[in-house]
Amino acid sequence: MQKLLLLGDEAIAQGAIDAGISGVYAYPGTPSTEITEYIQASKDAKENNIRSSWSANEKTAMESAIGMSYAGKKSLVCMKHVGLNVAADAFINSAITGANGGLVVLSADDPSMHSSQNEQDSRFYGKFSLIPVMEPSNQQEAYDMTRYAFELSEKFGTPVLIRVTTRLAHSRAGVERKEMLAQNEIKLPSDLKQFILLPSIARKQYDILLGKQDDFENDAETSGFNTLFDGTDKSLGIIACGLAYNYLAENYQDKELLYPVLKVGQYPIPVNMVNSLYESVDEILVLEDGYPLIEELLRGLLNKGKKVRGRMDGSIPASGELNPNKVAAALKLEVETGHTIPDIVQGRPPKLCDGCSHTDSFTALNEAMLDYSAGRVFSDIGCYTLSALAPLESINSCVDMGASITMAIGAADAGLIPSVAAIGDSTFTHSGITGLLDAVNTKSPITVIILDNSTTGMTGGQDSSAFGKVEEICKGVGVEEDRIRVIKPLRRHHEENLKVIREELEYNGVSVIIAKRECIQTLGRRMKEKARQKREVKTVK
């Protein structure tokens, strides 16, 4: 069949479409965003009515996907690794309910933290929740494993987690498509109590999940996604998980690899295969593009068995994504070096775009905050986090989605008055509304600045779930109407905006300032599209 040039993310999306999903649920997050975007733009998805609009956050996405699975249809839910923390309650309990229609959860990890706050490894979530995990090593496997994950999910009635990392998510290669499978018809679970996790039922369901563990492991031994390659040099055995296998192979382009190798792409860990390898070699090197999951288990608390090398003994640096050079060093191969980078090369950190509304909002806020001691502005995650960097240096925190408002509450409770929260419209609908409700209920003396640019900017301008309703939401949550102020962040409005911010900082209660101006990027795109349509109309005439 047809070969397509796809990003790892796109291969997953195409794999899900071809597996016969009826819906994808997601909140944008680098490096997972392109999966849902691909489905949104796909002709096949449109023709087959695959639902694909953005969810308010990862938890709502996960729950909607469970709902679709309950109704018997196949659903995909996508998020970045830290999004899985947001969805964790629903995710872990979905292992207990089990799946009816195929339920596949995609978590995209970001080792080296290219665009994230941490480099947590989602495979641990799979182990924690006791469900199978797939970890592709290349774009073709990303496609094949996504299809297989749905098969596995329906075969064993369990959600399946797919774990990728940034490098595969955002790297392109040729992918061979297979035939497109049909969507499921509506079919409720045969046991209508399966999804009611009351303790008495949950205990039963948990036993069922525990009872499936042997099946999961047997499948990992036989599916073909874990492979043991024998070798003649038994002084070392190598376990290479996911992408790490490519870096291993890269180092043996021009020479033969004589060590036995276990290529791992499916979990639970295939214990029999690991044992065969372990028994046949003198020592083991574990290559994992993330935390040392297999390495730690193999090594054990007391580390008294055969020598196990990897991230924990320093053979590979403990943090950061793998690359061919790190793997070469761990294999004690000669590591090639290039020219030295001259000292004149300066860092070029990302920054807010020219003409960005956030710059005008923070310029006014910075001036207003001069009236108070430093260190009072709490923020979170979005383009506006870049205001932490020079020249603005406006914010003092970025912990997780929505933490701006709630951290401001806690700091105000501790006596830091006024405390300020700076949050974007998409982040506000993701996880800010409940925090604002807390503030209203306790009459917390905080000023919340909602930077409303009508989009999810940092990930490339996806729809924000606010859809222009920020003011109404704040009213609905119970913020006093005269304490909801709307400003237009433009340089020429600086003085009046400054006055509004100063007034609300002085107010001893919850204030919300909505700084409302469209993202300069989405505006530009909209104008271009308009011009294009105009041209087309002209040509038709």
Partner: protein, 194 residues
């Protein structure tokens, strides 16, 4: 045939377009490819790079090993040096635009940057903006840089032309011709200079 290429620049300068042209041309020649891109946070005016690997055989890693790149193509001079450790010391070519993109306060004196580039054996520097302007639009500076790198790509020049026609097909004849002229001007400059 195997070429490992680093593409470098600043977010918004069009390095992904260069990658798409080379990638499309490589596919037209029946070659395999892997191309690692940068998305997300670093796009906002920060440094961006892409690892592009082309081969007649299988390609393992999405990342090029250090010291193994055959070619660096950069649309910004300081950015060309950021990845100089990736270049093969004995055979690699460095092709870069000479036009600095200054969006940081501590950008070094451009003479110093160029001096460091000229110290790299096998380098081509080109005033891509000037050349692009002469062809009709400064926007084609990225394709000028690609043209200057075309003699070292291991891909037929006609395949690059074919790729440009394909990629810009929806944008109309004028844009296609502009980019074809930019490609040609970049190539002629490099051939004359080396």
């Amino acid at each position: 045939m195997k070429k490992d290429i680093i593409l470098a620049g600043v977010g918004g300068q069009g390095i992904l377009t260069i990658a798409t042209v080379i990638g499309t041309a490589a596919l037209l020649e029946g070659l395999q490819l892997k191309q690692a891109e940068v998305h997300g946070m670093s796009q906002r005016g920060g440094d961006v790079q892409s690892n592009l690997r082309i081969s007649s055989g299988d390609i393992s890693s999405d990342l090029i090993p250090e010291g193994k790149a055959d070619l660096i193509i950069s649309v910004e001079p300081m950015e060309s040096l950021r990845y100089i450790n990736m270049l093969d010391k004995n055979n690699g070519w460095l092709v870069t635009s000479m036009n600095p993109f200054v969006n940081i306060p501590n950008y070094p004196p451009v003479e110093d940057v160029l001096k460091a580039i000229w110290e790299v054996p096998r380098n081509v520097t080109i005033d891509a903006e000037k050349v692009a302007k002469e062809q009709g639009s400064i926007k084609a500076a990225n394709i000028v840089a690609l043209g200057a790198a075309s003699p070292y790509l291991g891909i037929k020049y006609e395949s690059l032309e074919h790729a440009i026609k394909k990629i810009f097909a929806s944008k109309g004849e004028d844009i296609i011709n502009l980019n074809l002229k930019a490609l040609s001007a970049g190539k002629n400059y490099a051939v004359k200079k080396t």
